[in-house]
């Protein structure tokens, strides 16, 4: 059951970093990057600690909601909700954003020096931390929002800082990339908004959660034309970069500065998966069931396409970006089965992916720092002897993606696969065979690009260009990465923290027999 | 047929024609003047009373004010036209001064040859 808190603690924990971040450009003149990073870390730790403590309180496990902080006759009431569904997302985002903030300090110092070396004058590091903290806090707000308009506002609030992060600190043709990113996701967002408005104007409310009864407006849009639901869903799918509308993602995620990629790639796009359940499914239950089979196909396609493209990449960050597409396929797959196991797996996989992919992106970043902008896998090789710890961390990162213990990935993939097979069995033999084949291919592909990449980077002969490089094995960068990985491994041991409440929560919502 | 109205509207149409189709700045401004004069004529005609007198009370009319009111023409359009004429003169003055300047700059009065602004 959802409990209403007497004090808007969730809101404060989101707004505090969002508003205080404005002071960073001014702080940036006084403080060193490292101290700035610590301030940002502490700010972002606030929501993380808040949600963890709320979620760990047994009486609040069923969900906790703030008193509404804004209400309007037709916009409805805005509030913040932490429940079993949003908890894995909130926790994953909180963890990754806080730790990546620490990672940013050394990386961005390097990046800004590098850009100045190229004769560019990027905005100061204070501006970076302002945008970074805003971006993180907006994502947190996104996951916790209880109102469709509120959700859209946070969606755009997350989009804007990330756009500026790419356009100011990105690599390559960053202006083009950033515009592409902005316009694609803005189109997705507006599509979503139009659907939301159509929903709101015919049902009379924009609330996902009814603030009086504290129950979800399940199936409220059941009688609306399917177009409304399709608009919302397609808007989210664009943001999620599933196959067909994924064009913007490899560019944006590969060219963003690495700490930002580490947030963009796993966190921001995964949130759309969350919104598919929270918004598309809960509000449009019947219509969503109708299109779930199409989504299943789309998910398999995305999974395999992302894997294939990842195999073909030479640029490490681009490879990771395509692998994100593939992992989005997994999340969507879990969701589209609409079985308890599948959806639980999908939600859990967000966390797996958030941790694993941020580890990998940070590894890519540390390679860039340590080897002066090295991104091409073809030029790497035999680095394990030079950077053993980084190599280990990369291994752990890939283990997350492939789903091999001791990582959370095992559980999430397991649940997704079990859920998918449940669904496939219900669909008939041919479907079962086809889907199984796809699953095997998909899993094989993930394993292939993971281990193949590992081998190419860390094993084999060191190219002559890199042979002379001397590297410090243990830097600030790797410490942070290790911290993320350790939390991820710890979650492997206690996945029940998230799984059990999720199952209890989803049980009554999902159709009993798929 | 109400000739006053029709002719007023003809003047308006004629002014419109000059304004839109002439290629000389001065003629365009003349068109503007004709157009507004048409409107003034129309306004004045609106106030005419068949067989009416001017709206000036004189002599013995002071003794028969109701009778005067029943025979005089409408004073309001006259007042409006007075105002409007002045306004129109102002516009024409400004227009002509701009035309003078334009001629100094371009040595032509053909607006289609004054093409600095594009887009």
């Amino acid at each position: 059951m959802i409990t209403q808190l007497s004090f808007p603690i969730l809101l404060i924990s989101v707004l505090m970093p969002l508003l205080l971040s404005i002071s960073f450009p001014f702080l940036g003149r006084r403080l060193k990057p490292k101290k700035l990073a610590i301030v940002s870390f502490i700010l972002l730790l606030v929501p993380l600690v808040t949600i963890t403590s709320i979620f760990m309180t047994p009486t609040l496990r069923g969900g906790a909601v703030d008193p509404p902080f804004f209400s309007h006759p037709f916009a409805g009431s805005f509030s913040m909700l932490l429940d079993p569904l949003s908890a894995p997302f909130a926790f994953g985002i909180g963890l990754v954003t806080a730790l990546v903030a620490l990672y940013s300090a050394s990386y961005m110092k390097h990046r800004i020096e590098e850009m100045e070396h190229e004769g560019l004058t990027p905005p100061s590091i204070g501006t970076y931390f302002m945008l970074y903290t805003m971006f993180s806090a907006a994502m947190m707000g996104l996951v916790l929002s209880t109102n469709l308009i509120e959700f859209y506002i946070f969606l755009e609030l997350a989009l804007l800082p990330s756009f500026f992060l790419i356009i100011w600190y990105g690599y390559g043709n960053r202006i083009r990339t950033a515009i592409m990113y902005l316009l694609w996701t803005h189109i997705g967002g507006l599509l979503f908004l139009l659907g939301v408005l159509a929903f709101g104007s015919s049902t009379g409310t924009f609330d996902i959660l009814n603030m009086q009864t504290l129950t979800f407006n399940v199936g409220l849009g059941a009688n609306l034309p399917i177009v409304v639901m399709l608009m919302i869903t397609i808007g989210l799918l664009i943001k999620m970069a599933v196959f067909g509308v994924h064009i913007w993602l490899p560019y944006a995620h590969a060219e963003a500065p690495t700490p930002v990629s580490a947030l963009l790639s796993p966190a921001l796009i995964g949130i759309s998966g969350y919104a598919l359940i929270r918004i598309s499914y809960i509000l449009f239950t019947t219509q969503f069931q109708e299109i779930s089979t199409i989504l299943l196909g789309l998910a398999l396609l995305t999974m395999i396409y992302g894997g294939l493209m990842a195999l073909a990449q030479d640029d490490f960050k681009r490879l990771l970006a395509y692998s994100s597409i593939s992992q989005m396929g997994y999340i969507l797959l879990g969701i589209s089965t609409l079985t308890i196991n599948g959806v639980t797996g999908g939600m859990l996989h967000f966390m797996t992916h958030a941790i694993g992919k941020s580890v990998l992106f940070m590894v890519a970043g540390s390679l860039i720092v340590q080897f002066r902008g090295l991104r091409s896998i073809g030029k790497m090789g035999g680095l394990a002897s030079k950077v053993p710890i980084t190599a280990t961390l990369t291994l752990i990162g890939f283990l997350f993606l492939v789903g091999i213990p001791p990582t959370l990935g095992l559980w999430s993939k397991l649940y997704i696969i079990v859920g998918t097979l449940d669904k496939a069995m219900a669909m008939g033999t041919i479907a079962l065979v086809l889907i199984s084949i796809c699953l095997v291919v998909g899993a094989g592909m993930t394993a292939a690009y993971s281990f193949f990449t590992l081998k190419r980077i860390f094993l084999g002969r060191t190219p002559r260009a890199l042979a002379g490089e001397s590297v410090r094995g243990w830097s600030n960068l790797t410490a942070v990465i290790a911290l993320v990985a350790i939390v991820g491994v710890a979650l492997f041991l206690y996945p029940a923290v998230f799984i059990d409440p999720l199952k209890d929560f989803l049980g009554p919502l999902l159709p009993s027999t798929p | 047929m109400d000739f006053n109205y029709v002719i007023a509207m003809l003047l308006v149409a004629l002014g419109l024609y000059c304004l839109l189709l002439k290629r000389n700045l001065i003629k365009i401004i003349i068109g503007l003047a004709v157009l507004t004069d048409g409107i003034h004529l129309f306004l004045i005609s609106l106030g005419y009373r068949a067989g009416g007198t001017a709206a000036i009370v004189s002599g013995e009319m002071f003794l028969d004010l109701p009778g005067f009111a029943a025979h005089a023409v409408d004073p309001i359009p006259q007042a409006l036209v007075l105002t409007s004429i002045v306004i129109n003169i102002c516009i024409l003055a400004l227009a002509l001064s701009l035309a003078i300047y334009a001629y100094r700059h371009y040595k032509t009065l053909n607006p289609s040859k004054m093409r600095r602004l594009r887009g």
Partner: protein, 99 residues
């Protein structure tokens, strides 16, 4: 082509205006009547004609309208005149010096 179209448009507008004023208005010379609904009402000018000589004491009713009833318009008119003077001065300021 464009000119022909414009010319056609001008003719059409003129014809429409002429048609309108000659059908939809009461015939020329029919002040003070104005058709409002089924009953025919007097224009405000008639009321002014009745009241003005006593209200303002001016022999010329037009004067009383210009300076009295619609004094604010006259003020506006003077302002327009002033604006135009300032405007012309602004546009033509120091023409001689520039040559």
């Amino acid at each position: 082509m464009k000119r022909v179209l414009t010319f056609g448009m001008v003719v059409a507008v003129g014809a429409l205006l002429i048609f309108t004023v000659s059908t939809d208005l009461l015939p020329f010379g029919s002040f003070p009547q104005r058709q409002v609904g089924e009953d025919i009402k007097n224009a405000i000018g008639q009321q002014i004609l009745v009241e003005a000589p006593e209200d303002t004491g001016s022999a010329n009713v037009v004067t009383s309208v210009v300076w009295g009833y619609r004094g604010y318009d006259t003020l506006g008119e003077v302002t327009v005149l002033f604006t135009a003077v300032v405007g012309v001065l602004a546009v033509l300021r120091a023409v001689g010096k520039r040559e």
